[in-house]
Amino acid sequence: MEALIQAVGLTKNFGDIVAVDGIDFVVAEGESFGFLGPNGAGKTSTMKMIGATSPISGGSLSVLGLDPTEDGPTLRSRLGVVPQENNLDEELSVHDNLMMYGRYFDMSRAEIRDRIDELLEFVQLTEKRDAKIQALSGGMKRRVVIARGLIHDPDLFILDEPTTGLDPQARHVLWDRLYRLKQQGVTLIITTHYMDEAEQLCDRLVVMDKGRIVAEGSPSSLIDEYAPGEVVELRFPVGVLETLSGQIEDLAPRTELLADRALIYTQDAESTISAVTSNGLEPETVLARRSTLEDVFLRLTGRSLVE
C-alpha cells in the first residue's frame, strides 16, 4: 500500500512552546488512522500541519505526495477537513453553506447541487436541506460539517475530534456514518480523546502525550501490550482509599490509585475479587471489565485522558 502521509521528526513550535516534538508516523491509503491523547497533546497542531493551514516548524511532512508548505492550495483542494469547531455560517441554510463551500473548490453549481443531494442523504439530513444552521442540534451541525468536508470528494478526510461535546446517541449516529466511509475505502485521520471512539473507528493509532508519540499500534495490540487481561475497579468512601494503598497494591503486580477509585490489573477478575474480600477490604462497589485504551493511556502516562 502506498503511504498517503509520511512525517519524519515533525515539529511545531509556538514561540518557546513546543506543541509537537519531533514525531514520526506513516498513514497508508485506505487506512483509518487515529491520534489519541488528552487536550494539549499536540493533536490539533498535527492536524493543521497535515491540512496545510499551519506551517511546519521542523522535520519533514509529505501529504498525498505533496509538500504542505509549497503546494498548500493544491493539497487543500484534495483534502476534506472537519475542524474542531463547526465554523458554519449559522444564519444560512444547510444548502447554502454547502453550496458556498463547494464553490471555494471551483465546482460548478450543477455539480454541487447533485453532490448536496447525495451527501445530505448520506448524513441523513435531506429534510433539513433548507433549514438554517442555527435551528439544528449539535449532532446535526456536526453532520453538516462532515457533508461539507466531503463536498469535493477528497482523497483524504481529516476529522479533529468529530464527536466531542455530543450526546451518546448523536455520537453513535456519527460513528455509524464514519464507519460507512471507512468501508467505502476513504482514508480517515481522526483525533480524539475518547477511547471508545478510537476503538470503534481506528485501524491503527498513535497515543500522543505532551507533543510526543508514546505508543503506536492497533487498538487491540496496544491493549495486549500495555494493559492485558481484565480490570477490577474498586470504589471506597471518600478518604478511605489512601489508608488502604498498601493492601490494594498487594493484590496484583499492577495497580493504579486514582482520586476516586482503585484499578487492579489482573488476568483473572474473579479470583482477584475473592482476594479483595478475603483480605478484609470492603469497597462500596466492585466492577470487573475488559481493559480499554483508557488503561493503556494511564499505563503510559500515569494520567487519565479526560480530566
Binding site: 499551519s54 483542494s77 458554519l88 455560517d89 444564519e91 444560512l92 447554502d96 471555494y104 473548490f105 471551483d106
Partner: protein
C-alpha cells in the same frame, strides 16, 4: 482553476448578504433622507438665513450633500472592515473554514476588500439617487460623485481591517469608532469647510481620506475647485487602499494560520 479564488469569496459574501438585503437597502434609503430633512430643512434654513451668499456660492444643503455622501461611505467602509472581519476570525470563524480550501490568505483578503467596496458602492449609489430626488444636485453629477465616495469607503475598509486583525480584544473596536471614525466623519470638511478649524488641526484633517473624497465630490457636484490637485487626492486614496491592504496580510496570516 479558471476563476480567481477571490471572486469565490465575493460570491460567498453576496450569498450571505442576500439574507439581509431588504433591511440593508431600506436603511440605505432612510439614512440619506433623514440627513436631507434634518440638515436641509432644519439646520440649512438657519445657515442660509445667516449666509445670504451661501457657502461656496450654494445653499448649505447643496454644500453638504456631496460631503455627507462621502462621509457615509466612510462609515460604511469602517463597519464592513470591523464587524465582518471580527465575525470571520473570532465569532463565526467562517474565515477559518475558507482557509481549509484552496483559498489562501491573499485570496481571502482581496475578496473581502472587493466585496466591502461593492457594499460601499451600493450604499453610495442609493445616496446619490436620494440627493438627486431632493433636487439638491442633478442625477448625473450625483452619480459621478459616487466615484470619490467609493475610494474613501474602500480606503476605510482597508484601514479598519488592518486595525481589526491586530486587535487582541474586540473592546478596541468601539474605541476605534469613537476616536477615529467619528472625528473623521465630523471634522474632515463634510459639514463645514476645514478652514473653520483651528490652524493646527487643519493638516490633520488634510491627512484623512475623507477630506480628499469630500473635495473631489464637491468639485463634481458644486463645481468648487479643490485646494489639492484632483489627481493627488485620487493617488492618495489609492495609496491608502493598497498600503493598508498590504498591512492586513501579516497579522491575518498569524491569526488564521499560526
Amino acid at each position: 482553476m479558471a476563476t480567481p479564488l477571490s471572486l469565490r469569496v465575493f460570491e460567498a459574501e453576496a450569498r450571505v448578504y442576500r439574507r439581509t438585503w431588504r433591511g440593508s437597502v431600506v436603511s440605505s434609503f432612510l439614512n440619506p433622507i433623514l440627513y436631507m430633512f434634518a440638515m436641509g430643512v432644519g439646520l440649512g434654513t438657519i445657515v442660509d438665513a445667516n449666509l445670504p451668499g451661501g457657502i461656496d456660492g450654494v445653499s448649505y444643503l447643496t454644500f453638504l450633500a456631496p460631503g455627507i455622501l462621502v462621509a457615509t461611505a466612510l462609515n460604511t467602509g469602517a463597519s464592513e472592515g470591523a464587524w465582518k472581519v471580527m465575525g470571520g476570525i473570532v465569532w463565526a470563524k467562517t474565515w477559518h473554514a475558507r482557509l481549509a480550501t484552496p483559498i489562501g490568505i491573499e485570496g481571502l483578503l482581496v475578496g473581502h476588500l472587493f466585496w466591502s467596496t461593492f457594499r460601499v458602492f451600493m450604499v453610495s449609489v442609493i445616496f446619490a439617487g436620494v440627493i438627486a430626488a431632493f433636487r439638491v444636485a442633478p442625477l448625473f453629477e450625483s452619480l459621478l460623485a459616487v466615484g470619490p465616495a467609493v475610494l474613501v469607503g474602500s480606503a476605510m475598509v482597508a484601514a479598519t481591517t488592518a486595525f481589526t486583525v491586530r486587535l487582541k480584544e474586540m473592546s478596541g473596536l468601539p474605541m476605534f469608532f469613537r476616536f477615529v471614525v467619528l472625528p473623521m466623519f465630523l471634522f474632515s470638511g463634510a459639514f463645514f469647510p476645514i478652514s473653520q478649524l483651528p490652524n493646527w488641526l487643519q493638516p490633520v484633517a488634510l491627512a484623512t481620506p475623507v477630506y480628499h473624497g469630500v473635495e473631489l465630490a464637491r468639485a463634481i457636484v458644486v463645481g468648487t475647485s479643490p485646494a489639492v490637485a484632483w489627481w493627488v487626492s485620487v493617488l492618495y486614496l489609492v495609496g491608502w487602499i493598497i498600503g493598508f491592504g498590504v498591512l492586513c496580510v501579516k497579522p491575518l496570516r498569524r491569526k488564521l494560520t499560526p
